[in-house]
Symmetry: C2
Subunit: 218 residues, 2 copies
């Protein structure tokens, strides 16, 4: 198939990218700049795409930042990024309002526009307690609405929706994903902080998967 | 309720805006600049909002144009806008890939961000033969996915989904919508062409509703 992959430069979507390639799909990757604090992830997305030989482009949605920022620590720079375990209630501060539907809708439009068959995104089971738009029921509802939005059909692939992040790390390890190039931290620096929810989750995933963590933390 | 209204400056969304106000809702209007050929509609949206005393802003999505243009006459300026009746198969050239899902997803994000209760859009029954993302089944599926995209609930109001454009013209007439200020033409000029699908539909709606058409056509 021809697949547009939503690609953030993180562990999950990097593994998804490598898995799609290993399955023989033709892949184009798109990342989204919505004015996120952690926009450094887009440099990772670009570098990993080059490394994997995949066409990549950043969709510039920075103009959306003031429209959708609300009280999200990742777009509203006045709100502090919480430290702690990624399943804690406090992590809801990192939710960007309806971010995934926005990215999915643009990816679908792009797939229709360039006559691709499918889009893919790397939501996983570990996200579900904090991010409403990573839940399996959200994904199922998106599949339905995507099937109705155009006269042509675009499939929605979500290969990791029932997997944990350590499952993904294991798959990535087997596929030789260059994890050292991936970016997770939400803090907005250029070195992983090691203490925000996404850094804690990253460390734990490598540990549970028994894969050496190549990340340098502050 | 507090409602974010998706507002294009056309007859339908103008009538929707006036109806929401007449029902006592607090309304904010947003329009979308996605690089459309007929971006002059946004000037109408702004002027009508001022006239109605409603806060309005244009969401700048022009960076999406190259990503989603495909073969749509409304974004890909190499594709000609078809003349003729708005129900003709040729009018499918005017479909912008997944446009409504993109607008709805941003409107939902905005509503969550500013703590509004609902969003509204003016899809109507006459659109259904050409625009897949105006169909009642698309709208129903959007309601489901919107109910799942966030921990807070945002309602989707689509008051015209079962009405014809002439029904809307009648309602607008009763609500004293300033139809002369509204914009329909898809051709990209500054005077309504009178021959493209949306102009034909506009003329027909006024005629069927037995309302004097205040539009000057070329």
């Amino acid at each position: 198939m021809k697949v547009v992959a939503i690609f953030s430069g993180g562990m999950d979507s990097s593994t998804m990218l490598y898995q799609l390639l290993s399955q023989g799909h033709e892949v184009r990757a798109i990342g989204f700049d919505y004015g996120q604090r952690h926009a450094v992830e887009l440099d990772a997305a670009k570098a990993i795409s080059e490394h994997a030989g995949v066409a990549y482009e950043t969709v510039d949605l920075r103009s959306l930042a003031p429209v959708i920022a609300g009280q999200s620590s990742q777009v509203n720079l006045d709100v502090e990024v919480p430290d702690g375990h990624y399943t804690e209630e406090s992590m809801k501060a990192t939710v960007v309002p309806n971010r995934n539907m926005i990215m999915l809708s643009v990816a679908v439009a792009h797939a229709i526009s360039i006559e691709f068959d499918a889009i893919a995104y790397g939501a996983h089971a570990g996200d579900h307690t904090i991010y409403p738009d990573c839940r399996a029921e959200f994904v199922e509802a998106m599949k339905t609405v995507i099937s109705l939005c155009d006269w042509k059909q675009v499939a929605l692939l979500t290969p990791f929706v029932a997997l944990s992040k350590s499952d993904i790390a294991k798959i990535g390890g087997e596929l030789e994903v260059p994890f050292a190039m991936t970016w997770s931290c939400y803090k907005g620096g250029t070195t992983h902080c090691g203490t925000c929810g996404t850094c804690v989750e990253r460390r734990e995933a490598f540990e549970l998967a028994q894969i050496k963590d190549p990340t340098r933390y502050l």
